[in-house]
Structure formats: structure tokens, C-alpha cells
């Protein structure tokens, strides 16, 4: 749930604001609220989650009420409302991927990382969760890693181990 009282101070860099301006230019002048979803993605790419204080600043930038940002940020599943690991692993857990072993991959990740779904490892590097269909059913099991959403297909326990080692050594 969204905790409105929580306030992590955030500063929007001039580079980030320049990206905001570019996104805003895609819509008719009086329809800049359309930029809300893309802006929240930009915020998340910068801070790895979307703190309430950042939502307030986005509201201010778009000249809309903070609640209009909160209701969107809580509706869509991609926006992290609390801090995640540096690498947030998202494994598809929907039907077709389960037919080819997604559930095993999820439990393997839990054992490998030593944390439950939604928790962050002690070194702050990893968190993971099951997500619904990622539209890659023919190449399952699949996972993606935010914020770039790099995509890994045809997972096996061994390929997941290697992926985690590679990320640790990055």
C-alpha cells in the first residue's frame, strides 16, 4: 500500500527534466497529463522505485493534483512503491510459462537468493517477484530485469545461476 506520509527527499536532475520536457511535447498542449505514465517510468529508472515525494514533484510538473499521480502509480503493477534490489527480477508465472517450468524457476530463485518474493537481499543487489504474462510464452520460462527490462528466455536453473553470478560480478 502507498504510504503518503513517507517522504524520501528527491531531486530531479536537469537531464531528467529535459527528458520530461521531450515527453510532454508529444501531446496536445492542454493534454500533458498523458505524459504521466512515461514520466513515472523515467522516475523509476532514475531512483529504482517511485517514492511519494517524487510523485508529488511529478504532479507539480504536470500541474495536476498529487492524488491523480497516486491513483495511477498504485493501479499499474510496474511502478515499485517501495525500494527494490538493484536488480529487480520479474519471472512470468502465468499458464504457458508454468507448462514449461516457471514455478520451479521461482522456487529456485527463492532458494538461491535466500529471500522471499518481494524482499531484498542483504547486499541490496537482488529482489524478485512473480508477474503475470510477459508475452513471450513460446520462449518460456522467461524473466526480465528492471529498470532496462532486459529479457531472458528459455530459463533453466543453471542459466538462472549463471545470470545471478554475472550480475554479482558486474
Amino acid at each position: 500500500m502507498l504510504k503518503v506520509e513517507e517522504q524520501t527527499p528527491v531531486v530531479f536532475s536537469s537531464e531528467l527534466l529535459a527528458k520530461f520536457d521531450e515527453v510532454k511535447s508529444r501531446y496536445p498542449e492542454d493534454k500533458s497529463k498523458s505524459a504521466l505514465l512515461p514520466l513515472l517510468h523515467l522516475v523509476q529508472a532514475e531512483f529504482l522505485w517511485v517514492p511519494t515525494s517524487a510523485m508529488d514533484k511529478v504532479a507539480e510538473y504536470l500541474n495536476i493534483q498529487p492524488i491523480e499521480v497516486y491513483e495511477v502509480a498504485t493501479f499499474y503493477t510496474m511502478y515499485f512503491l517501495k525500494p527494490q534490489g538493484k536488480y529487480a527480477l520479474e519471472v512470468c508465472r502465468t499458464g504457458p510459462c508454468c507448462l514449461v517450468g516457471a514455478e520451479k524457476i521461482l522456487s529456485h530463485l527463492e532458494n538461491k537468493l535466500g529471500v522471499k518474493e518481494g524482499e531484498v537481499t542483504a547486499d541490496g543487489l537482488f529482489s524478485f517477484r512473480g508477474v503475470e504474462c510477459l508475452a513471450a510464452c513460446g520462449f518460456g520460462p522467461v524473466l526480465q530485469i528492471s529498470p532496462e527490462y532486459t529479457f531472458y528466455e528459455n530459463l533453466t536453473e543453471a542459466s538462472v545461476d549463471k545470470l545471478i553470478e554475472d550480475l554479482k560480478n558486474k
Partner: protein, 455 residues
């Protein structure tokens, strides 16, 4: 080999670049459309082609276009629905990844036909790599003069933007998509008014699936009549099928509509049969929302005639013995798969994705998930099966958008065709935790009914 219209050049190295795409005849449709055809003539060609919406509903695209209101001085929009999220469907991701200019070319021709000056491609947010691919391709096209001001000196201006979603299945419903594009929660709108009258920002809008828009390119190049010659009956042209599950060769295939289902599953040109030498138990032929069918009804109608991959043939027999083409997400289940577990999985999906606007869907999907979880985990009672039937009946048709129906149909069809398996789970709460019900008689071939003369 069947004809390929969309994926003909998919294996050409560099086909994702403008240069190679042009070498292979790309953007010819833009030249032809903008220089030699009027918008009305393009709409007419698309009507003649018989193209039906490839996102799932199968509504004729040309007819949808002809409904677009054209009041003086009001902007019109074309929005491409690339919010591909239907479990079992991954054709649009494939198309956008490997041949992004096919979509952009289709967007230019379609935008011109509809009189849109600004168009958006709404891509689901998880597809950030595809968003980057499309943005790069749009920049290439713009630099080469295919987008922007005064395209090919014809005086036609078009700006094309990619809009990321936020991770919500419901935004594949066109009015929810428009809400989302306006920066709001993806709650579907009550229709009417339809988007053709009041869509994006209250302006007349057409929303089309990626594959539908890409199909406009060969329709303009070869003519609507040529396109309509491919396929069978009212299922014209080619269709991308996303094949997943326990198949030897899962993947995206372009088929001519009318291909026998059996050939699609077993021939080496397509899926190559069931993986690991197992037998086929069941299929979901058009994405998770369409009814699941046992193997025997997948391959043949109840009267023993072979079933084909077409809108009409897949729905032959209605929901009693048929299914639907849907989005073309073809999921195959081998003999070791548990229908109860899969039905629970899909029910959880719909519960997770319900937007919460309509009570029957918001409450019903959660209720179905709980009951199915109970049965799957060995705590079910016999009356739970009837309870599930009752709940799905009360969701179907009682919601603003089709997500309610989409949640109800997988449960209804699983009970209709696999009731024995549900009952076995309930009668054998311990055994069902370690064993599967197996294939039973679900693959028993259907004998052809002898034709008898009416007296």
C-alpha cells in the same frame, strides 16, 4: 510452403533497419497510398480485403475505419494497440522486435487513410526493449522523410509517438487503453459513445492491433481483392499464430487461414508435434480467454469433420464443442498437465488483472481463484464445482468490458470438458497432490458421423 505476407523477410539480416527494409520493398505502400490513392480508396481496399481485427475480437477492420466520425476542425487519432498481454500471445512482440518498420509503414498508410496527423503506438510498459526498437526505427523513418512534415512532398504531415503502458492487462481493452493514454487508471469506458465518435481526448479515434495495422501494407501493395483470395470464407489473409506450451517447436508462425489444426500442431513446417514424445491432452486455441478444448475436439468437430485454423471453424459447435480464434495464442497441453491447476492459474491471472470497476468481475474473479485454489490443493468439496459454474455464469455478460467474459470462459469450458478431472481432485485429495489425472479419454479420436438421409 504457405504464403507469407508479414514475415516473408523476417530472416533477412538487418531487416530491422530502414535500409534493408527498403531494399526488400519496404515503404512501397506509403508511396502508393500517399501519391496515387485517396483516403477513401484506401478504406475501400481494406474493406475489400476482408481483414478482421487481429487483436482478438475479429471485427472487420475496414468497417471499423468507416465508422470514424469526421467533424470539421476536430483532430482524429489512430492508436495502435501494442499492449499485448493475453496469456499465450506473443506475435506482436515478435513483429515489433524483428521487423519494426512493417508496423511503422502500416501506421503511416492507416493514419493517412483516417486523416490522423498525430498517431500513437501504445506498447505495454514491460516491452521496454521493443519500445527502444520502435523509437529508433521511427527516428530512422523520420530522418528519411517518411514521417514528419510534408511526407513525399504530398503535403501530408504525420507525427508518430510510442507510449509505454504501466503493466495492466486491462489496457488492451480499447477504451481502457485510451484512458491510460490520457494518463489515467485503465478503467474501461461505458460504450456508447464508441471511440470512433469520442475516443482519445474526446476526438474520433480508431484503435487497431499491431498485426492488423501491419497487414494493411500487403493489402495496399497487392490490392484488397488479392488479399481476400488467401484464406477461407470470411477468414481472409494470413494470421500470426503464437504457439506455446508443450510443443516441439513453439514460436510465431504465419499461416494462411484455413490450415487444418492437425497440420499446424503436427507438421514439421509448424509446431512439429508434442514435445518429448508425449500425447496432446488439450489446447487453448486463441489466448487464455477462449474456451479450452480437449485434444479430440481440437482436431475435429463433434461430427468428426476436421477443424481448421479459421475464425468460423474454430468456433464451430459454439461453446458446447468449439472455441474461438481470439488473438491466435495457441497453447498446447501434454498428457502430464493438470487442467485444474491451469484453470486456477488463469483464474488468478484474471483476478490480478480485473480493474475493479464492476462488482461481478472484481468479486467473482477473486472468488473463482479461491475456490480453484482449494480444489487444486486438495481441500475441495463436490459442490464447489457447481459453485464455480454458478459464479462464472454471474460474471459473464454483466460487466462493462469483456474482461469478465474472458475470466468466465476458461473456467466454464474447463468444467464443461474436464469435469471428471475436477471431481477426481476432490475425491482423491491426497493422490491429486502427487499425481496427475492423465489423459483419460480426452484424446480419443472422434469418429465421423455417418450422413443419414432425412426422411
Amino acid at each position: 510452403m504457405s504464403r507469407k505476407l508479414l514475415l516473408e523477410h523476417i530472416n533477412v539480416p538487418g531487416i530491422n533497419t530502414l535500409e534493408v527494409y527498403r531494399q526488400k520493398g519496404g515503404y512501397r505502400a506509403v508511396e502508393k497510398a500517399l501519391k496515387t490513392l485517396t483516403p477513401e480508396e484506401i478504406v475501400e481496399e481494406v474493406k475489400k480485403s476482408g481483414l478482421r481485427g487481429r487483436g482478438g475480437a475479429g471485427f472487420p477492420t475496414g468497417m471499423k475505419w468507416s465508422f470514424l466520425a469526421k467533424p470539421e476542425g476536430v483532430a482524429r487519432y489512430l492508436v495502435c494497440n501494442a499492449d499485448e498481454s493475453e496469456p499465450g500471445t506473443f506475435k506482436d512482440r515478435y513483429l515489433m522486435t524483428y521487423i519494426p518498420h512493417a508496423l511503422i509503414e502500416g501506421m503511416i498508410v492507416s493514419s493517412f487513410a483516417l486523416g490522423a496527423k498525430v498517431s500513437y503506438i501504445y506498447v505495454r510498459g514491460e516491452m521496454m526493449p521493443q519500445i527502444r526498437i520502435l523509437e529508433k526505427a521511427i527516428a530512422e523513418a523520420k530522418a528519411a522523410g517518411w514521417l514528419g512534415k510534408n511526407i513525399l512532398g504530398t503535403g501530408y504531415d504525420l507525427e508518430l509517438y510510442v507510449q509505454p503502458g504501466g503493466g495492466a492487462y486491462i489496457c488492451g481493452e480499447e477504451t481502457a487503453l485510451l484512458e491510460s493514454l490520457e494518463g489515467k487508471r485503465g478503467n474501461p469506458r461505458i460504450k456508447p459513445p464508441f471511440p470512433a465518435i469520442a475516443g482519445l481526448y474526446g476526438c474520433p479515434t480508431v484503435v487497431n492491433n499491431v498485426e492488423s495495422i501491419a497487414a494493411v501494407v500487403p493489402i495496399i501493395n497487392d490490392g484488397g481483392d488479392e488479399y481476400a483470395k488467401i484464406g477461407i470464407g470470411r477468414s481472409t489473409g494470413t494470421k500470426l499464430i503464437s504457439a506455446s506450451g508443450n510443443l516441439v517447436k513453439p514460436g510465431v508462425y504465419e499461416i494462411e487461414l484455413g490450415l487444418p489444426v492437425e497440420e499446424f500442431i503436427y507438421s514439421d513446417e509448424y509446431c512439429g508435434g508434442i514435445a518429448n514424445g508425449k500425447r496432446l491432452k488439450a489446447t487453448v486455441a486463441g489466448g487464455s480467454s477462449v474456451p479450452i478444448l480437449p485434444a479430440n475436439l481440437t482436431l475435429k468437430y463433434a461430427n468428426g469433420e476436421p477443424r481448421l485454423m479459421s475464425y468460423e471453424s474454430l468456433s464451430e459447435g459454439g461453446f458446447a464443442t468449439g472455441t474461438m480464434m481470439g488473438s491466435g495464442g495457441f497453447i498446447a497441453f501434454d498428457e502430464d498437465q493438470c487442467i485444474v491447476r491451469n484453470t486456477w492459474n488463469f483464474a488468478r491471472f484474471y483476478h490480478h488483472e480485473s480493474c475493479g470497476q464492476c462488482s461481478p468481475c472484481r468479486e467473482g474473479t477473486g472468488w473463482m481463484e479461491k475456490v480453484l485454489h482449494k480444489i487444486e490443493h486438495g481441500h475441495g468439496k463436490m459442490e464447489d464445482v457447481d459453485l464455480l459454474w454458478d459464479i462464472q455464469r454471474k460474471i459473464e455478460g454483466n460487466t462493462i468490458c469483456p474482461l469478465g467474459d474472458a475470466a468466465a470462459w476458461p473456467v466454464a469450458s474447463a468444467i464443461r470438458h474436464f469435469r471428471d478431472e475436477f471431481e477426481w481432485h476432490i475425491k482423491e485429495p491426497v493422490k491429486s497432490q502427487s499425481q496427475n489425472y492423465g489423459i483419460a479419454n480426452y484424446a480419443t479420436p472422434i469418429e465421423k458421423t455417418p450422413v443419414t438421409e432425412e426422411k
